[in-house]
């Protein structure tokens, strides 16, 4: 019931929104799709990725480069998550035996390396960026307006949500949830804990890669500067604020953060504000929101609100 209502609202929203907000809607929806993966990784594999934007970038560049060289856009969009997941598997593999925050540091390092490589790579447009990416099209039908991309982004988010819900409630997902509370007992039950965590990492990268592919066709232009480390941090903040280990959490987190950043941006560009106000406000908001959330809503918005509603109903 709740899921159906959520779907209906999401499908109606692009039609109701003023068209000048559609671009924000597309980016927000793509961010939510990436956050679904981050939330899955943090909530079920107990790992943090501080470089999730690099998989977004890999997906975007893969789709963009393929399209620029004449590959059908649909094929490029389908390959984007595959390549991002393969990159994650490669990065994650040596980390399987390590514990704690190694993955967080490694992903951060990978993103910094990727950004400087992209800035050097003339075949990918270098620091200036990759230009002339055609619009997304299937057969002869080309997606040109923002409304079309809004629905494409919603499709990607829907796939990410459906796949992560399915994984969590499957045999593998039970093994992961078990490993989150007792790794020893899970392994003794036959759960390959390290392998499953790597698989979740690759899956989260696939979501980011798919979202990145849509981003490439939507903007038609990619530059290393579009994928800063701050973007990776943003996904983590969205996941934590929304609530780990819930289906709706990443979506709620993404909406809250994007709306908040927009409001602060508007506030920062009011006449009379110093010219550094917008950037200070939007950077500071991540830190503040994260601290407040960890202090007062450690489980995130969605679990806390649903617990409060549940308590009231009793």
């Amino acid at each position: 019931m709740k899921a159906a209502a959520g779907c209906a609202a999401a499908l109606a929203l692009p039609l109701l929104l003023p068209s000048r907000h559609l671009a924000t809607f597309v980016l927000l929806t793509l961010a939510a799709a990436v956050t679904v993966g981050v939330s899955l990784l943090m909530g079920y594999a107990g790992q943090v990725s501080l470089g999730q934007a690099s998989f977004y970038a890999i997906g975007a560049y893969a789709a963009g480069l393929l399209a620029v060289h004449g590959t059908p856009p649909l094929l490029g969009l389908l390959l984007a998550p595959v390549l991002a997941a393969a990159a994650a598997a490669l990065i994650g593999f040596p980390l399987l035996r390590l514990r704690g925050h190694h993955l967080a540091f490694a992903t951060l390092a990978v993103q910094l390396i990727l950004l400087s490589l992209l800035a050097q790579a003339s075949w990918a447009g270098g620091a200036i960026g990759l230009q002339g990416i055609p619009r997304f099209s299937i057969g002869g039908y080309s997606l040109t307006d923002d409304l079309g991309y809004a629905y494409l982004a919603l499709l990607v988010l829907g796939i990410a949500l459906l796949v992560s819900r399915n994984v969590v409630s499957s045999r593998a997902g039970r093994g992961l949830r078990a490993a989150a509370t007792s790794e020893i007992a899970a392994a003794a039950s036959g759960v390959p804990v390290g392998g499953y965590r790597l698989a979740v990492f690759a899956l989260s990268a696939a979501f980011a890669g798919l979202a990145g592919g849509v981003y490439a066709f939507f903007l038609g232009y990619l530059a290393p500067g579009s994928f800063p480390v701050l973007l990776s941090i943003e996904y983590v903040v969205m996941a934590v604020v929304g609530g780990l280990g819930t289906i709706a959490g990443p979506v709620v987190g993404a909406v809250l953060i994007v709306v908040l950043v927009q409001v602060l941006n508007t506030l920062g560009t009011q006449p009379g504000m110093p010219d550094y106000a917008p950037s200070v406000l939007s950077y500071a908001v991540y830190a503040l929101v994260l601290v407040v959330c960890v202090l007062y809503l450690p489980k995130g918005v969605v679990p806390s609100v649903s617990a409060a509603l549940h308590a009231r109903r009793r």
Partner: protein
């Protein structure tokens, strides 16, 4: 399943917890491993289950070497484990806890689960029906849909046993399953272990409570200070002078109290 442990050792920082321990458990046998506190029983248990790696020696099940295999691979070969501490999965229902136990003998992977392929549905049906049967067998049927952490301690211990049985193990390792149980629970546990033995399940039972194992076990191995000091049927062990000395503390001085047979 036949278990062979051959001259297995494990040291922690230069001190041997288990040293040159050998024992063979024949298929269908219920072997008890007893010994005073600090004898190395739990270490031996972890070496066979794969929670710890042995420094030296050979561990085989049905002729297959497993010493270098990680715990999850040993589980797939049919080694089931019941830990001493109630290592349950919190945040999951009792039924889900037991369903995880079936992991070792089912196959559906990430892709099958994510895309709901036929393999997923086939495995889920099998896992669910097996889990319900195991809950029933351990007297937990009424608790199936309760969060595991809400179960009383005795039921949490039973839950671990149900989880291990759900994999249909061919060798079951039990680490002090009776400790902390009330008299009634202890009796039903003994009855269940007796049933499993009658069904031909090979078991290795590590136990501190000598009375509990003497009436259940076919063979008893006694450890002291990491070494095997006696091995044989319960009646012979009861009268073995080395065992009596180890338990009464006439051998090395300074043994902790409270471990009399």
């Amino acid at each position: 399943m036949r278990l062979v442990v051959d001259r297995v050792s494990r040291a922690f920082g230069g001190v041997y917890a288990v040293r040159d321990v050998s024992l063979t458990v024949e298929p269908g046998e219920l072997r008890a491993v007893i010994g005073p506190n600090g004898a190395g029983k739990s270490t031996l248990f972890a070496l066979i289950g794969g929670q710890l790696a042995a420094n030296a020696g050979r561990i085989e099940v049905d002729g297959r070497p497993v010493r270098r295999l990680p715990a999850h691979r040993r589980a797939r070969l049919g080694i089931g484990v019941v830990f001493q501490a109630a290592r349950i999965f919190t945040g999951m229902t009792a039924a889900e806890n037991v369903m995880v136990g079936a992991h070792a003998t089912t196959r559906a992977g990430f892709l099958a689960g994510a895309l709901r392929l036929p393999a997923h549905h086939r495995d889920e049906r099998e896992i669910r029906s097996r889990a319900l049967a195991c809950l029933d067998r351990t007297g937990l049927a009424d608790w199936a849909d309760r969060p595991a952490e809400e179960l009383p301690l005795g039921q949490q211990r039973a839950l671990q046993l149900a989880r291990a049985l759900c994999a249909r193990p061919r060798l079951l390792l039990l680490d002090e399953p009776a400790s902390g149980l009330r008299a009634g629970e202890r009796e039903s546990l003994a009855a269940l272990i007796g049933d499993l033995r009658a069904e031909g399940l090979t078991m290795l039972l590590v136990e501190h409570d000598v009375g509990f194992v003497m009436r259940l076990a076919d063979q008893v191995t006694v450890l002291d200070l990491g070494r095997v000091i006696a091995s044989g049927p319960p009646a012979a062990i009861r009268t073995d002078p080395a065992v009596i000395a180890a338990y009464l503390g006439t051998a090395p001085a300074g043994r902790p109290e409270g471990s009399h047979p």
